[in-house]
Symmetry: C3
Subunit: 375 residues, 3 copies
Amino acid sequence: MQQSFSVAEIAEALGAPAEGDLDLRIYGAAEPATAGPDHLALAMDPKYASGLAQGKARVAVLWQDADWRALGLKAAIFVARPRVAMSVITKRLDPGPAIAPGIHPTAIVGAGASIGEGAAIGPYTVIGESVEIGMGARIAGQVTIGADSRIGVNALIHSGARIGRNVRIGDRFICQPGAVIGGDGFSYVTPEKSGAEEVREKLGQQTEIRKQKWSRIHTLGGVEIGDDVEIGSNATIDAGTIRATVIGNGTKLDNLVHLGHNVVVGEDCLLCGQTGIAGSVKIGDRVILGGQCGVVDNIFIGDDVIAGGGTKILSNAPAGRVLLGYPAIKMETHVQAWKNIRRLGRLFEQVAELREAVTRLGQTGRKDVEDDGER
Amino acid sequence: MQQSFSVAEIAEALGAPAEGDLDLRIYGAAEPATAGPDHLALAMDPKYASGLAQGKARVAVLWQDADWRALGLKAAIFVARPRVAMSVITKRLDPGPAIAPGIHPTAIVGAGASIGEGAAIGPYTVIGESVEIGMGARIAGQVTIGADSRIGVNALIHSGARIGRNVRIGDRFICQPGAVIGGDGFSYVTPEKSGAEEVREKLGQQTEIRKQKWSRIHTLGGVEIGDDVEIGSNATIDAGTIRATVIGNGTKLDNLVHLGHNVVVGEDCLLCGQTGIAGSVKIGDRVILGGQCGVVDNIFIGDDVIAGGGTKILSNAPAGRVLLGYPAIKMETHVQAWKNIRRLGRLFEQVAELREAVTRLGQTGRKDVEDDGER
Amino acid sequence: MQQSFSVAEIAEALGAPAEGDLDLRIYGAAEPATAGPDHLALAMDPKYASGLAQGKARVAVLWQDADWRALGLKAAIFVARPRVAMSVITKRLDPGPAIAPGIHPTAIVGAGASIGEGAAIGPYTVIGESVEIGMGARIAGQVTIGADSRIGVNALIHSGARIGRNVRIGDRFICQPGAVIGGDGFSYVTPEKSGAEEVREKLGQQTEIRKQKWSRIHTLGGVEIGDDVEIGSNATIDAGTIRATVIGNGTKLDNLVHLGHNVVVGEDCLLCGQTGIAGSVKIGDRVILGGQCGVVDNIFIGDDVIAGGGTKILSNAPAGRVLLGYPAIKMETHVQAWKNIRRLGRLFEQVAELREAVTRLGQTGRKDVEDDGER
C-alpha cells in the first residue's frame, strides 16, 4: 500500500507555513499540470500558476505570498528556496528501494564477515571474507563486495555494484547500479624511457622511437571513502598503488565518473557526469567539476574551484578559480577568447586593408620624398 | 547446427535482382578477401573486386551492373545502397543470442509479476514485484528489473543490464550488457546559494565562498521509453525527479552514453558513444550527436540538429543546425575559426611589421611636417 | 596468513644490490612516512628521505648511492629506474584476487564448454556453450562468457565482466569489473541518404531534411584479443559487423574506454581512461592516447602516435605524430595556438590603433597632397 502524508506533516518537515485544510492527505508529488487530486503539486514559482489550472491538485507547495485560494486550492505550503524544499519533500516521499529485510538465502557471505543489525542483503550478492557491513545497510541483489572491505551504517548499495577488496566506506553511503570501486590502477612502465615520458619532458617532441613492452605496476592499496558519499551508475574508482585512493566526506560523484589510482578528493565536492580524474591528482574541498571535465595526472585543484562542463584542466588550479575550456582557463577569459576568435575573419580583413593602405601611404610617402628630392 | 540460406532467399529479402545459381546455399557473410566457399561475400563497391579474387567466395552481393562472371562467381545479387543491404543481410544471418526458452530455474520473479507468452529469462536474473514483461521478450542472465516496471513485446535485454523501478519501455527494445536505466538523478542543493549558482548568474565570478553541505534531492520519477529503442553497453539513464525521463520511439543510444534526470529525447535520434546529456535537457526528433558530445543542463536542441564528435553544446540549438566544437558553433564557422587560429602566427608578424611601417611613416610624416615647418 | 618476503628475496626479484640485514622479513609495501616496522618503504628519490624519518620502516628501496645507515635503516635495496622497480615489487607483493580454486557449485557451465586445468570459476558466473577456458584462468563471480568464446591461459577476469559470443582472447588476459566485450555495434542506416551522410560530404550543410527511421545493421563478427591485454573497469568493446574487432598483443585499455565495431588496435598501445574510438578506426602499434581522447570513425592512427588528454582526432594521424587539442593538431602547434589566442585582446587593440594611425597618416598625406596641390 502506498504511503500517504497530511499537509501538516509535509509542512512540518519543511519547517514552512501552511494554510487551508491541513488534514488533507497526499500520496505523491507531481508537476502542476499533470497532478491528480491526491498529489502534492510542486509550483514554487509563479510561472507554474497556469499549470495548476490545468492539473487537478488540491494541495500545492507555492512561492511565498502566493494567493492559494485564487489558484483554486484547498491547502498550500509556502517556501522560500524551492530546491531546498524539493530536497525535503522528495526525501519524505521516497519509498526507498525494494530490498527485502534480512539476508536473501542465495546471498553468499564469506567467512568472518559481520553483517550489522537490521542490514538487508539481496539475492545473488557475494560478500567476501572478513567484510564488515554496518547496521541498517541495504545491499541490493547481484552486488559484489571484496574481502576485508568495510561499509558504514545505513548504506544503500544498488544492484550490480562491484566493490573490491580493502575498500573502507563511511556511513550513509549511496552507490548507484554498476559502479566499480577498487579496480586496479592503470599503471605501466617500460624498461627504457618511453615516448610518453619524453613528450612530457620536452612538451611535444619524441626524438627516438623505442619498441618496448609495458610492465604492469600492480595495485596494492585500497580505497577510503568518507561519510555521506554518493557514487553514480557505472562510475569507476581505482584503488591506490601503495596507499589508498581517497574520497572525503559529503562528496558526490555522478554517473560514469572515473577516478584514477591514488587520487585524493576532498569534502563536499560534486563531480558531474563522465568527468575523469587521472592518477595521483589532489582535489580540495567544495570543488565542483561540471560534466565531462578532465584533469591530467599529478596536479592539484584547490578548494572551491568550479569548472564548467567539458573543461580539461592541464595544470594546477588555485583555490577559488572558476574555469572553462580546453585547455582550462578562467571562465571569463575563455568567453572573451571565443568572442575574439569569432571576430578573426574581420580582423584578417582589416589587417589586409591596412597592409594595402600602408603600402599606398608608403608609395605616396616615397613619392613625396621623391618629389621633395626632385624639388 | 548453423543456419543456411539460398541465394534466392537472400535476394528476396533484399528485394534485389540476382543472377546465376540461385539455389547455392550460404552459411554466413564475410569480407571478400577472407570469404570461404560457403560465405556470402559482401562486395558492394568496385574497390572490393580484388578482394574477391583473393577469397574463395562463390556468391557475392555486388554493386549494380557488376560483371559477376568476370569476377569468377557462380551467383551474385546486385544492390544500390550498400548499407541498406547490410541491414537486411545481417538481420537475416543473425542467429540471435543464446537465451534458452522459458524461465531459468534460478531466475527470481517477484510477486505479481507477469511474464508474456514465449518470453525467455536467463539464469540469476532478478525481476521485481508487479513487473510486466511482454510476449516474446528475451532477457539474458544476471539482469535486474525493478518493481513496477514494464517491458514491451519482443525485447532483447543482454546480461547484466540494470533496469530500475517504474521504468516503462515499449516494444522491440534492445538493451546491451551493463546498461543502467533508472538510476537516481544527480541533484543536490545547499541551504544558501552555492558558488555554482553564483557563477551561472554572473558568468564566471564567485564573490563569496560559503562552506556548505549538499542536501540530496531524491528521485521519485521513472523512465519512459518508446518503441524500437536501443541502449548501448554500460550506458546510464537517470530517472526523472518528479516526472519521468523520456526517450522517444526509434531513438538509439550508443555505449557509455549518459542521460541525466528529466531529460526528454525525441524520436529517431542517434546519440553516439560516450555522449552526455545533463539534467532537464529537451532534445527534438532526428537529432544526431556524434561521439563524446556534451549538452549542458536545462537547454533545448531542436529537431534535426547534427553535431560532430566532441561537440559541447552550451546554449540552445535551433532546429536543423549543424554544430561542431567547444563551445559548439556552426560546423562551417568552427572549421573557419581553426583555419584562422592556425594563421595567427603570420597575422602577429604582419601586425608587427605594420606597426613598424606606420611608425616609420609617422616619423617620415612628422619629418615632412617638420620640414614643412622649417621651410 | 599474510605472505612475507626477505630483503634478499625482494632484491633478487629486482636484480638490484642490497645492503644490511638481508634476512629481515617484510609483510607489505608502504609510503615512507606511513610505513610500519614490517613494511618495505618505497623511497626511490632523495625527496622521500624526510618521510623515512617520520615512518617506522627498517627496510627501504632507495635511490642509487643513498646512505641507508644515515637514514636509520637496517637494510636497503638500491634501484635506478623507480617505476620499473615498482612493477617488480608490486607484482611480488600482490596476493591476487580471492577466487577459490575450482568451479563454484553455483557457476553454470554450458554444454561442450572446456575448462582448463587449475582454472577457478566464482559463484553465479555463467559460461556459455562450447566456451574454452585456458589453464590456470581465474574467473570471479557474476561473470558472463558467451557461447563459442575462448579465453587463453592464466586469465584473470573480475566480477561482473560481460564477454559476448565469439570472443577470442589470448593468454594472460586481465579484465577489470564490469567491462563489456563483444556488445553489438552502433550501426544504423536510413532508406534514403540521411542528414549525417550529407553533412559528411558537404562538410557542414544539410540542404534537405528527411523524416526517416533507422534500420539496424546487425553484428555478426566477434572480437579478437591478443596476449597480455588488459581491459579496464566498465570499458566497452563492440564486436565487428562481419569480421572481428581486433586488439593486438600487449595493449592496455583503461576504465570506461569505448571501442566501436570493426576497430583494429595494434600492439603495445595504451588507451587511457574514457577514451573513445569510433567504428572502423585502425590504430597502429605503441600508440598512446591520454584520457578522454576521441577518434572519429574510419580513419587511421599511425604507429607511435602520442595524444595528450582530451585530444579529438578528426583526421588520419601519421606515424610518430604527437597531438593535442580539438581538433587535434601537433602538440607544439596547439600550445602556440593558445598562446596566440590569449594575446588576441592586445592584437585587436593594436589593429585598432593602427587603423587610427593610418587614417591620420592618410589625412596628413592627403593634406600634404592637398597642400602640394595648393602650392
